[in-house]
Amino acid sequence: MKLVEVQTVLRSEVLCGWENLDREIVTACGADLMSDVLVYTKERTLLLTGLTNIQVVRTAEVGDLMGIIFVRGKRPGPEVIEMARVKGIPLMLTELSMFDACGILHLKGIRGCSERVTRCEL
C-alpha cells in the first residue's frame, strides 16, 4: 500500500514529505514506546504514534521507517516538522484514534511487526 493511499483512508493531513508519498509500506507499528519501535520494526514500516517530539523523527530515521502518522489530531511543533522535512520523512496527521487508524490499515491488508530484531542472545 502506498503512503498516498494511507493518507486517503486515514483522511490525513500531510505535514511534510509530499515527495515521498509514493513509498510502499508492508507493515505498520502503533506505539508510543520508541524502544519497542526500534526493536520490532522491519523495513517498509509505517509508524502510528501519539507522541510528537523530536525523538519520533530520530527513531524513524534510525529505524528506516517509511513515514509517521500522528493520531488523534496531535500536531508536532515546527522544529519536529522541519527535521522530518530535511530528512525526507513523510509526516501525516489524522483525527482518528490509534485504535481506529490501526484497524482501518489492518482491514486494508497491512500487518503488524511481531518479530524482534535478534542477533546477540541475552
Binding site: D36, R58, G63, C120
Partner: protein, 143 residues
C-alpha cells in the same frame, strides 16, 4: 575500503541534551550508507548507537561515544562519567528502569535500552562501577 582502513569518529554526549540525542547515530548511519554497508546492517548499528546515546543523555553525567567503522565490522565504544549502575544484571532485564516520568513521556526509559543494544549487536560487553561510570563495547559484523 581496504583491510587496513578504518573510519573513526568520536562524539561528546551531554547529559540532558535531548535535542541532540540521535545526531551522532544519524551521522554514523550516513557514513555507513555512503561506504555501501547493507541497509539492514547499517540499521542495526544505528539502533545500537542511538539507544546508547539516549542512555548516556538520560542517565549519566555525560560521556563519549567512539565509533570505529572497519571493513568487516563496526565497533561502538561508549563511556560515561557516572554515576554507574549498581546491579548490571538487573539493568539488563527488560522492563527494569530507573528513568523518571518525563523521560517515559518521550517514548524512552521503559527498560528496553540495554536489552535492545545487546539484541542488535553480535558482541556486547558492559562494565560499570558506582561512582565512576559505565563502559559499553558493541560489535556489529557485516556478515
Amino acid at each position: 575500503m581496504n583491510s587496513r582502513q578504518a573510519i573513526t569518529t568520536e562524539f561528546k554526549l551531554k547529559a540532558g541534551d535531548f535535542g541532540a540525542a540521535g545526531e551522532a547515530s544519524s551521522q554514523i548511519k550516513r557514513i555507513l550508507q555512503q561506504i555501501g554497508v547493507k541497509a539492514e546492517i547499517a540499521r542495526r548499528i544505528a539502533i545500537s548507537a542511538y539507544e546508547a546515546e539516549m542512555n548516556v543523555i538520560i542517565h549519566s553525567m555525560g560521556g563519549i561515544m567512539r565509533i570505529e567503522i572497519l571493513p568487516d565490522r563496526t565497533d561502538i565504544f561508549v563511556e560515561d562519567d557516572g554515576p554507574g549502575i549498581a546491579d548490571v544484571n538487573l539493568a539488563m532485564q527488560e522492563g527494569y528502569s530507573t528513568a523518571p516520568d518525563h523521560i517515559r513521556d518521550m517514548g524512552f526509559g521503559a527498560g528496553m535500552g540495554l536489552p535492545n543494544m545487546a539484541r542488535c549487536s553480535d558482541e556486547f560487553e558492559i562494565s560499570s562501577e558506582v561512582g565512576v561510570g559505565t563502559k559499553i563495547h558493541m560489535v556489529i559484523r557485516y556478515k
